[in-house]
């Protein structure tokens, strides 16, 4: 009998491991992060993510260097920022990322019809959004958590950090809390605006306008019209950094704004953004 055989090279039923919704979500997180960072894409897609990382980390590296080279305590105190104030150095990085980079996570999927394909996989609308939010917030957290952690570790190693393990642990918790709050806030904000359009440029313009207009309007209402200080909670450009100051126990740039108001406003804006995205995607009609 001949041992010749022709093998069907056509459609084959997949009989390998199926990782289910969990695997699909992990896969989407990974590929969204790759896309947002511009990996396996043209050089121009990598410019803004690299710029964001540079703006976020270069000041921290410089400050660590200054702390290592300068022994004068007075000079150190004058030159080196507090942990809360460090976010002022990286605010532009976060705004660039939230404005120009993060919309890449949502808009192309709708424009190209890929969203419908994702829903044909084990992903649901909810797990899709969770994966997208996880990818964007994870990348933002690299910018919001990494530099303060770097400063903390360098300061401890040089003996100019907090005293004792308890103080170090408390500061680490503050770093984690402040970084997470800011990352989640900008994730919700950028995805909420991006969910309104399938054009990335429109989403970027929308996020930028939202930040600028709320800053201008709230400032005018408080300082021009004389409305109470709590109206600053509508200044979407400032409140996450103000809350970060308070988490570190620092007065911040708007000491007249109560910590309680900030503690309510920032999570509220974050939740509002999440609700906008969720509602928008719940109602989104998918054409396959």
């Amino acid at each position: 009998m001949s041992d010749a055989r022709i093998i069907d090279r056509g459609y084959r039923v997949y009989d390998g491991v199926r990782r289910g919704p969990r695997g699909a979500t992990q896969s989407l997180i990974k590929h969204t992060a790759q896309r947002v960072l511009g990996l396996r894409r043209p050089t121009r897609a990598k410019i803004l993510p690299i710029l964001t990382a540079a703006i976020a980390y270069v000041p921290a590296i410089v400050f660590v260097g200054v702390a290592a080279l300068v022994n004068d305590t007075q000079v150190r105190t004058n030159v080196l920022p507090t942990y809360g104030a460090y976010y002022g150095f990286i605010a532009s990085a976060l705004v660039i990322f939230a404005t120009f980079v993060a919309p890449e996570a949502l808009c192309p999927d709708r424009r190209t019809g890929l969203f419908g394909l994702y829903l044909a996989s084990p992903l649901t609308r909810d797990t899709y959004l969770i994966a997208k939010a996880a990818a964007v917030s994870g990348l933002l957290a690299i910018a919001t958590l990494g530099p303060p952690v770097l400063l903390l570790v360098a300061n401890v190693l040089q003996g100019i950090g907090p005293d004792g393990p308890g103080e170090v642990a408390l500061l680490a918790i503050r770093v984690l809390a402040a970084g997470s709050v800011i990352a989640l806030y900008y994730t919700a904000l950028s995805l909420a605006v991006a969910s309104m359009t399938d054009r990335r440029a429109v989403a970027s313009a929308g996020i930028l306008l939202l930040l600028l207009v709320t800053a201008a309007v709230s400032g005018t209402l408080v300082e021009g019209v004389g409305l109470p200080d709590w109206v600053y909670v509508f200044n979407l450009n400032v409140i996450p950094f103000e809350l970060a100051f308070r988490i570190y126990g620092e007065p911040g740039n708007l000491p007249q704004l109560s910590t309680a108001a900030l503690a309510v406003a920032v999570p509220a804006w974050t939740v509002a953004g999440a609700i906008v995205v969720w509602t928008r995607y719940r109602r989104l009609r998918v054409v396959r």
């Binding site: 001949s2 041992d3 010749a4 055989r5 022709i6 093998i7 069907d8 090279r9 056509g10 084959r12």
Partner: protein, 318 residues
Amino acid sequence: MTTLPPPSPVNPPSALLELDHVSKWFGDIVAVSDVSFSVGPGVTALLGPNGAGKSTVLRLMCGLASPSQGHVRVLGGDPRHDLSLLGRIGLVPQQEATFDHLRPGPLVAVAARLQGLEDPEGAATAALDLVELSFDDERPVGNLSKGNKQRVKIAAALVHDPEVLVMDEPMNGLDPRQRFHLIDLVRRLGARPGRCVVVSSHVLDEVERFGSRILVIAQGRLAAEGDFRAIRDLMDDRPHRLRIAADQPAALAAALIERGTVQGVRQAGKDAFEVETNDAYRFRREVAIVARDRGLRLDEVVPLDDDLDSVFRYLVGG
């Protein structure tokens, strides 16, 4: 076409070489996908279009690459991890991997020394004799013709008398006489007991003369394996085409149609016609009987698409 789902390898008696559900990918590129086959003694031709994954399969066989998935076994061991196996495998690479400043004898002797042979010069002389070159040839390898360089590469691969010889596109650049000689050499090497030669090529009419056992790779997957004539017989969705010459072709064609032996008939000149039949074996048996019963003279029966070239085209869609 009679096809099978992706199977486990069909183990010919005393398989020297086995790939079991082997895949190899480079980043996002899947070079080889779920390939399973076995190779026994003799000559086996590995065929496939450019970029099909032939060279990757050969590299996997020689332990030069590790499979991303699956297992490769050569002479019962893993060529990637069992270094002793490398002394039992010979590779003739596609690239011109020679030291051009050396003469053929010393170059092959270097290969013998690398294999740890006790008498490198003697082994080199024997290997060069096998490819009809002389150890005493004074010309540097760089000055040799492409065909002679190829022979030197083969001698270097043969110097340690490997049980498995892998040749990647050995026909490239050879003139017809050199090809004829190489085919003869490969057949002689494959005919030795317990030895196998795997040859990749896309020069099909030459490969056909190595022997009939083939492995066809297309788009990184195994498309078919076995005797190419048997593979052709498995293609029941492609009728066999034959050219029949007779003194009264129209009468013979009508008789064959009436008997139900053929599915289609087409005139091919004044004295011949072409037929299509799903059962070539039955047709060959009955055509003479039909001609005799009708008092017709049958001059010629020529298969038109049973050669390796046709089988290959059917398999890879070329």
